[in-house]
Amino acid sequence: MTVPVLEVKGLNRAFGALPVTRNVDLALEKGARRALIGPNGAGKTTLVNLITGALKPSSGRVLLDGEDITALSQAERARRGLARTFQINTLFRGLTVLENICMTIGERDGECNNLWRAAGAKRSVIDEALDYLDALRLTDDALKLVRELPYGRQRLVEIAVALAQRPRVLLLDEPAAGVPSSETHLILDVVASLDPDIAILIIEHDMEVVFRFARQITVLVAGAVFTEGTPEEIMANADVRAVYLGEAIPGGGRHD
């Protein structure tokens, strides 16, 4: 069996006396498409923060390509190919879209250690950045400031930034959150067409999206893995229905 790209072993985290992540095990194979679902407050974003290193776990380990990265900083993990998007846009709002991407490429390649060369002088960086924007149909917005874009377009920039990191593992924290429902399909099309080699963990509330996108699903309840399996198994699981899904399951509820 191949080593998973990302592996989480026995991860625990408490805020004071409140355990928010309890003994979580999780593995992403190369090219995985896994959804992380669970009720509000289940600790999904906390888990992403623990995996990326924004938070330190109380105990447990995070492995990237079989290598223990638990002690590494968030930035160091990012440089090793672990990228994320944020549930709430976290971008350089006062910079142009293109600059947001160029900055990411610059930090990825160590260009930003250069104090002397002009930032725009490397055509290859700009061209690569424009390729990402092309792919997400953002080329026309390249020179607009991020804060001038509608929220839905900003969500796409959020994804473009993560892609510009050339990640091996990508954690998408509710990529369509806050986007008007008329525009969600734009974002979901992008998510569905991402590079098949990247291992992706997506947090999502919309069950239609989850069942369309994911090949595996992990259900998180009160900080612990409740169960995991294929979409069909999860859909058929009566316990999952009871704690979380309820009527939200396609074919069984509000979406039809």
């Binding site: 990326t52 924004a54 900083s73 968030q74 930035a75 160091e76 993990r77 990012a78 440089r79 990228a83 994320r84 944020f86 976290t90 971008l91 350089f92 709002r93 006062g94 910079l95 142009t96 293109l98 600059e99 160029c102 900055m103 990411t104 610059g106 930090e107 990825r108 260009e111 930003c112 250690n113 250069n114 104090l115 002397w116 060369r117 002009a118 930032a119 725009g120 002088a121 055509r123 700009i126 061209d127 424009l130 092309d134 080329t139 026309d140 390249a142 020179l143 930034v161 990191q165």
Partner: protein, 343 residues
């Protein structure tokens, strides 16, 4: 979609690409209005020959404000102790002359830059883990601690009486410093030009972009793998060195130095200048320092007791009507003019 339509979409896209690439590739290029402050500085030399001593002080404050702009305007580091590095530079030169009898000006400047950089690196490495109010207090404390260290060893530093009568050797062994400060003025202007060239390169470099990123959104910088702390310490060290050079020039041009160079007033004043001129704009340091110094000079002659009221009023007006400083006002006006002129 038929072939001609596809063609049209593709060419529109490549035009958009070219436009975007062009914008980034050109941004760092020299623009003609950038000559203006230098032309004015040279004009002042010929038009105001009897104000050159004051002129040199203004240029020194421009340099000091420029160093603050690097860390405050670009990297977003809020500091109330920037006088620490100005003071360290000033005292490096002062002690070299008074205690070691070393008077060569240029190498003294380099020594001042190095000592200030060293202190900037040491304190920065420790305190740039913090942000906001904590950082504000720590930078403030740094300047006070340096000042008190000087006070403790007043046998070396001269204490609050300072080190008087510090004369430096002729510049390049040729140019004697004259009573009217003409040589001083050109000397300071030359050093400022050199330092400005460096700062401008840094600001438009990928490293400078990363600083802007840290200011704009530090969480995102961590997430894209930026070594934020290292970047901050680097720019803090550079800014400290430049502030040290400004301090060194202060000692050299005034021929004395006292512990007042570490005063909170000095840190606050340079910040007011920068905000007045506009942060994160390179030339804000020029506009702010010149306007502040000239008005301070004018007010203090007009009313020796209440001149600070004038400065206070100026600051209130700036914050209310020009929150982005004098340069922000100019940019806004030229932007409006450009929109009126064309589509």
């Amino acid at each position: 979609m038929d072939a001609s339509e596809t063609q049209a979409v593709l060419s529109a896209r490549s035009a958009a690409r070219a436009r975007a690439a062009d914008y980034l590739a050109r941004r760092h290029r020299f623009r003609w209005p950038e000559c203006l402050p230098w032309l004015l500085a040279i004009a002042a030399f010929f038009l105001l020959p009897d104000r050159m001593t004051f002129g040199a002080q203004v240029l020194i404050m421009v340099m000091f404000a420029l160093s603050l702009d690097l860390i405050l305007g670009y990297a977003g580091i809020v500091t109330l102790g920037h006088a620490a590095f100005f003071g360290v530079g000033a005292y490096t030169v002062g002690l070299l002359i008074a205690r070691l009898g070393y008077t060569e000006p240029i190498s003294s400047l380099c020594a001042a830059a190095m000592v200030a950089a060293l202190i900037g690196f040491g304190t920065g490495w420790f305190l740039l883990r913090y942000r906001g109010l904590t950082l504000l207090m720590l930078t403030l404390a740094t300047a006070i601690m340096l000042q008190e260290t000087g006070n403790l060893r007043s046998d070396i530093s001269g204490g609050y009486d300072g080190l008087p009568g510090l004369t430096i050797a002729p510049l390049f062994g040729i140019f004697q410093y004259d009573l009217y400060g003409h040589v001083n003025y050109l000397y300071v202007l030359g050093v400022l030009g050199l330092i400005f060239f460096f700062v401008r390169r840094i600001v438009y470099s990928p490293f400078g972009q990363a600083l802007t990123g840290i200011r704009e959104n530090v969480r995102r910088m961590h997430a894209i793998g930026s070594p934020v702390h290292r970047r901050l310490v680097t720019v803090y060290t550079i800014a400290a060195a430049i502030a040290g050079v400004a301090g060194a020039l202060f000692t050299q041009t005034n021929a004395y130095v006292t512990l007042a160079v570490f005063d909170f007033d000095v840190s606050a004043k340079v910040m007011v200048m920068l905000i007045l001129g506009g942060t994160g704009r390179l030339y804000g340091a020029f506009a702010g320092a010149v306007v502040y110094m000239v008005l301070e000079d004018y007010f203090s002659k007009m009313s020796p007791t209440f001149w600070q009221f004038g400065i206070g009023l100026l600051l209130v007006l700036t914050v209310l009507f020009a929150p982005r400083g004098i340069l922000g006002l100019i940019e806004g006006a030229s932007g409006r003019a450009a929109r009126r002129a064309g589509p």
